[in-house]
């Protein structure tokens, strides 16, 4: 006996096997991301009522780059449209058109990942520094003209630097949640000190860390969720890419099967898009 309904739908359920499978898989993904979103809420509600710029212990607001995030959202949305168009092209029997749409999708996927990496790098070179006098600043280090990644206070002492130059962020560029008192910001230069460079003595520093997962619960959950999401993008792109470039043979022998594969792959892709639709406002905007 052969396994039935691998291509043709089963009459009483109206579905072929892989479609049932992918929806079940997506159901489990819903619970996976559901747990992460629950954690997000719990961590956020439980965060200390600290204030910026002590992003390490409080819940920092507005530290992510909104324009870039918006652009990346658009990239994913477009890729979703092209995936569904690619599938429609197969349904219409047009393999060449399918490949074209798919190519756009893949470019979008690659673009998304590149932009995300850029953002990650941006965070890894962005620092929070706490000082002996109890104040704290955030900003980029300036070591020979560029900001290194992943430094800690230990790195600075190990390199025997007597002081570090910091381009301090302007706190006003960040938005405070309504009702939260704006802190008295302790840094010189007032409101016009846009990216004021400041020399800080190593001996004054009690804590120095880049915006890495260990820096605070916000970063921890931000990196975990976006990284997991990124992995999904990568996985989806690999599968779709495989069919784009190596699907011709299946198309010639069993076009309906290929169409189904693309439908299933597309469902996964849309789900990844859907997760981002929630991740974006939750991480960047709120």
């Amino acid at each position: 006996m052969e396994i039935p309904y691998t291509v043709k739908p089963r009459p009483d359920t109206g579905l072929y096997n892989a479609k049932v499978g992918i929806w079940l898989f997506l159901a489990s993904e819903v619970m996976l991301f559901g747990a992460l979103f629950s954690s997000y809420i719990l961590l956020r509600v439980g965060a200390l009522d600290g204030f910026w710029p002590d992003v390490a212990t409080a819940w920092p607001h507005g530290l992510l780059n909104i324009p870039i995030g918006t652009f990346n959202t658009a990239v994913l949305i477009i890729s979703s449209v092209t995936v569904v168009m690619a599938w429609a092209a197969l349904k219409a029997g047009n393999f060449a058109k399918f490949q074209k749409f798919m190519m756009v999708t893949l470019v979008c996927a690659l673009g998304f990942l590149c932009i995300k990496s850029y953002e990650y790098n941006e965070k890894f070179t962005h620092y929070v520094i706490r000082l002996k006098d109890g104040t704290a600043v955030t900003g980029h280090l300036d070591i020979d003209g560029h900001s290194p990644r992943f430094w800690t206070l230990d790195t600075v002492t190990a390199k025997k630097l007597a002081s570090v130059k910091v381009h301090v962020d302007v706190p006003n560029q960040f938005r405070y949640p309504v009702g939260m008192k704006r802190p008295e910001v302790a840094h010189e230069g007032g409101a016009h000190a846009e990216h004021a460079a400041r020399e800080i003595k190593t001996s004054d520093i009690t804590f120095l860390q880049a915006f890495v997962p260990a820096t605070g619960t916000f970063f921890a959950i931000y990196f975990t969720m976006t990284f997991l999401h990124g992995l999904h993008v990568l996985g989806g792109a690999l599968v779709l890419g495989y069919f784009t470039f190596f699907g011709k043979k299946m198309w010639e022998t069993d076009p309906e099967r290929l169409t189904n594969r693309i439908e299933v792959g597309g469902l996964f892709w849309h789900f990844v898009d859907l997760v981002w639709i929630f991740l974006f406002p939750v991480m960047y905007l709120l």
């Binding site: 396994i3 559901g34 439980g46």
Partner: protein, 602 residues
Amino acid sequence: MHTATTHAPSHGHAHGGAHDHHEPGFWSKYIFSTDHKMIGIQYGITSLIFLFFGFLLMLAMRQQLAYPGKALPIVGQFLAKTLGDDMAKDGVMQADLYNAFGAMHGTIMVFLAIVPLAFGAFGNYVTPLQIGAPDMAFPRLNMASYHLYFWGGAVMLASFFIPGGAAKSGWTSYSPLATLADRDHLVNGQTLWLIGMVLLITSSLLGAVNFITTIIQLRAKGMTWMRLPFFVWAQFVTGFLLLLAFPPLEAAGLMQLADNVLKTSFFLPTGLVTNAGPVPVSGGGSPLLWQYLFWFLAHPEVYVLILPAMGVVSEIIANNTRKPLWGYKSMVYAALGIGFLAFIVWAHHMYLTGMGTKISTFFQTTTMMISIPSVIILTALFISLWGGSIRFNTPMLFALAFLPMFGIGGLTGLPLGFNASDIYLHDSYYVIGHFHYVVAPGTIFGLFAGVYFWYPKATGRYMSEILGKIHFAGSFLCMNLIFAPMFVQGLKGMSRRMYDGGSTYFGNGVDPAILDLNKTITHSAILLGLFQIPFIVNFFLSLWNGKKVESDNPWQATTLDWQTPTPPPHGNFATEPVVYRGPYEYSVPGASKDFIQQGQPG
């Protein structure tokens, strides 16, 4: 049949189509097989070995409990040599080793022994046969599940041998302990535990997708939902439990992994100070978050442990009473009810974390509600005995014993389910007694029954009845001698996870008599081990020596699995089966034989 004709959903392609030979060699036949029966057998052997290994870990612990501070006989020196002085100085089990063995006993028994045996082995072998399918819906995904399981197990085992030893924070791995326990080793037992768990969870998830799809899509013609054998229903519900309950633990596992490796603070609150000084983390996390996510999995998980066993027992009871299951439909609805309620009772493990009245009332109400479907299933099985013509073969003996054993385990869940009485019983040996009654003489007996029952289908030979009955009688006696005294210990106030068997607490209202009980339990456990020898001998010897089956249907059973050739070939059925009736048409009035097979026309 070409395996290439079937594909996994979107993800399965990584595994290529390389194993598509016509003449299967050793590797593709035994290791990279995509045939559900071979995969089922792989699962079965592996998980039985893990079951035995989990038991050996516990024997060492029991020895320590009965004779605290004395060198372990036989293995003591070996452990001292392989694991070092921190773990077994001079062959004496150290506290760290006790905790490591305890955590690994729990983990191995639950995730590497019972679930793979109940779901992976029986589910894989029997489900497609019973629904009249040629294989699972996604054979290569099935193979991937087994391999993930195997590697998950390998990682767990490897963790014994790394510096610091295996995970030692209980199978529950509560943070912050799980994160702080071994912080000076970058790769520690807990890290490997988490990696192993992620592999095992992924394996179970893929398995669940596969099972549910198979049951929905591949039922033979005429196999309507209400004609499914109860075993299949049990597997179906189990599949959903795994599918929806496991992902939160996967998420939690990844977060704890980040806590351990990347030094994040998901589960670490602000202001942690250990005896070594302040913990250098940002803080701001929540230790309870781990528990929420863990128990969101772990409560449904316990029904994963019991439902397949109930399924096996139901099949065997119907077969050996020679009559239909009483109240089949209400059993099905009860199983669905358990599946649903299982997701909303989890916080009964957390009553004493500081719960308010409202939320704990909610959870104890649901906990009481979930006991009702269990009562319904058990009652239906009891009443099924009435009017039967009972054959007492080995599978039936184990199946019958399952009923009161599960009864004791389930009933002792009630005082734990009331939060007020849980105040006294929480984390005592009463809890240990409760769940072992369910999983050990309960589930294990159910699964033993299944092994004896389907062995003739898989091999074409019976297992020996005499050895089987010795195995049964000895196991039944010993299991009760092991677990019944635990209730007494618990009620007398003895806490679990006590390396010294509770001796620190003696003389303070704690009755020293529990020390003697520790000895009783340990001796019974050793005896229990000895009574497994007939089983192991029987299992292997019967492959060559067992009595040959006279037909494809040696137990005169009704379900489709007995309508295949013995052992079933690749593709299972010679011709596509068609189903004409319900699953348990035994002793139909007026029929010429006392059973009518599901696939028999007319």
